[in-house]
């Protein structure tokens, strides 16, 4: 340890810097797409979970229990190695011609995170006074439209803090995608380490980037919350 020579130039310049930057690019893509998709899917599952139609409610319940209670890494492996067996040949060929590792990681992250988001949104909905639903229904809105225009917009506002948490988890969990060969930030840091033996620098750099990413996500969500969702307070 004492004989270790720090060399930060390894991660701030040249080829290895470019590797890390390209890794960051993929991490950002994976996180951004995952955040949008898991939010939409989570919203859908939350609505199904509260449906008056019991098969839908039951489906959502099983979905939530299943995806929340199995390890994300196993789910990533499932979509990457397992889903092949279930899909038609043509789909597999198409997937192989695209970036299949990325798609599998995105699907796994989206589905896993959507289960947590759905539960957060559901608690948000349950905290909206039932009189809001009555006001909406008495105006002539159907149950679904009442949810869409009146209940969910309010529930999402309350849900912003837990949602930030889920989005941060998703961004950090995206590092697991390296296990199936997605060349995101952690994968590239590992590559830099194996080529240069500068593991400390490489992983310090990756750690800092994740930290900045988290701070940026939190700031953006706060901004959105203040400007768009609660204009009467901004």
């Amino acid at each position: 340890m004492l004989s270790y020579q720090f060399d930060w130039s390894v991660v701030t310049t040249g080829k290895y810097f470019e590797w890390l930057v390209s890794g960051l690019g993929l991490t950002l893509q994976l996180s951004a797409a995952g955040i949008v998709l898991s939010f939409l899917l989570g919203l859908l599952i939350a609505v199904l979970r509260m449906s008056h139609f019991s098969p839908l409610r039951w489906f959502a319940h099983v979905y939530l229990e299943f995806f929340r209670n199995t390890p994300l890494l196993v789910q990533i492996f499932f979509w990457y190695f397992g889903s092949y067996k279930l899909l038609p040949m043509a789909v597999n060929e198409w997937l192989n011609s695209t970036n299949f590792e990325f798609a599998a990681a995105l699907i796994a992250l989206t589905i896993y995170t959507s289960a947590f988001i759905a539960e957060d949104i559901r608690s948000g909905v349950l905290s909206i006074p039932k009189e809001q639903m009555e006001a909406a229904r008495s105006a002539g809105f159907s149950y679904i439209r009442s949810m869409q225009y009146i209940i969910l917009p309010q529930a999402v506002r309350i849900t912003v803090p837990p949602l930030i948490n889920q989005f941060l988890n998703l961004a950090k969990n995206s590092s697991l995608a390296m296990t199936i060969g997605v060349m995101e930030l952690t994968y590239q840091a590992r590559q830099v380490e194996s080529y240069t033996f500068k593991g400390f620098e490489a992983f310090t750099a990756a750690t800092l980037v994740y930290l900045v990413l988290s701070v940026v996500i939190t700031a953006l969500m706060d901004q959105y919350n203040n400007r768009v969702l609660n204009p009467q307070r901004g």
């Binding site: 909406a136 229904r137 002539g140 009467q232």
Partner: protein, 244 residues
């Protein structure tokens, strides 16, 4: 316009509506009063099926509420409901509270809906509050917005469930003034209220309820001057006593 025929309703073992027979003609203003817990809210909430009835028949605007084929959302669009606690949408501005249902349900173009909303805000005296949020308004202002919101659907019937009971005394007048204006314009109205001045001024009939039963139904003067039932006498005496 509204016709209750031998209507019953139970909450578990509680017989909350007991053989209700009541007709309201177009343009009539009916005031419902009675002690707390007598079933007034439940009665008025059956009219737009916020509470379904268990027995009897109920026809509103020609639609049979017990008929499975009746489109209940269409009925509700024709019936405005004003709540004791206002129940404005807190995430929307005053203007958007009023335009939401017309634009989404009636498909009124945004611009027309906003013009109509402004006309209604003018009518309830709150045109300057169009961009405020409900939390920034007083109770009386919120209730006037709630009335404007209901009127924006151009309803055929307006229902009021104790619209002034949650208000500070100094704000009751401004809401009653809007309701009186509405009554005089020929709107069909059913109002649960203990505002006897309002009943005297504009009601065509007063309905007195106790324990889920309509005990008395009379013209306002008649009801106040000469209540028939002991329970009604007692109720009026309490209402007029200075302790109230």
């Amino acid at each position: 316009m509204i016709k209750f025929n031998a209507v019953h309703k139970w909450f578990k073992s509680l017989h909350v509506l007991n053989d209700i027979n009541l007709s309201v003609q177009q343009g009539e203003v009916v005031v419902v009063c009675g002690p707390s817990g007598s079933g007034k809210s439940t009665l008025i909430r059956t009219i737009n099926q916020l509470e379904p009835i268990d027995k009897g028949s109920l026809i509103v605007d020609g639609m049979d509420l017990c008929d499975k084929k009746t489109d209940i959302n269409r009925l509700r669009a024709e019936v405005g409901f004003v709540f004791q606690q206002f129940n404005l949408y807190p995430h929307l501005s005053v203007l958007n509270n009023i335009t939401l249902a017309p634009t989404k349900i009636r498909k009124t173009p945004r611009k027309d809906a906003e013009e109509q909303a402004m006309a209604l805000l003018e009518r309830v005296g709150l045109a300057n509050k169009r961009d405020s949020y409900p939390s920034q308004l007083s109770g009386g202002q919120q209730q006037r917005v709630a009335i404007a919101r209901a009127l924006a659907m151009k309803p055929k019937i307006m229902l009021f469930d104790e619209p002034t009971s949650a208000l500070d005394p100094e704000m009751i007048g401004e809401v009653l003034a809007v309701m009186q204006d509405l009554a005089r314009s020929g709107m069909t109205m059913v109002c649960v209220t203990h505002e006897m001045g309002f009943a005297r001024e504009v009601a065509d009939r007063v309905v007195f309820m106790d324990h889920g039963v309509i005990l008395e139904e009379a013209e306002p003067e008649e009801f106040f001057r000469n209540p028939q039932h002991d329970r009604a006498k007692q109720f009026l005496k309490q209402l007029l006593s200075p302790m109230h």
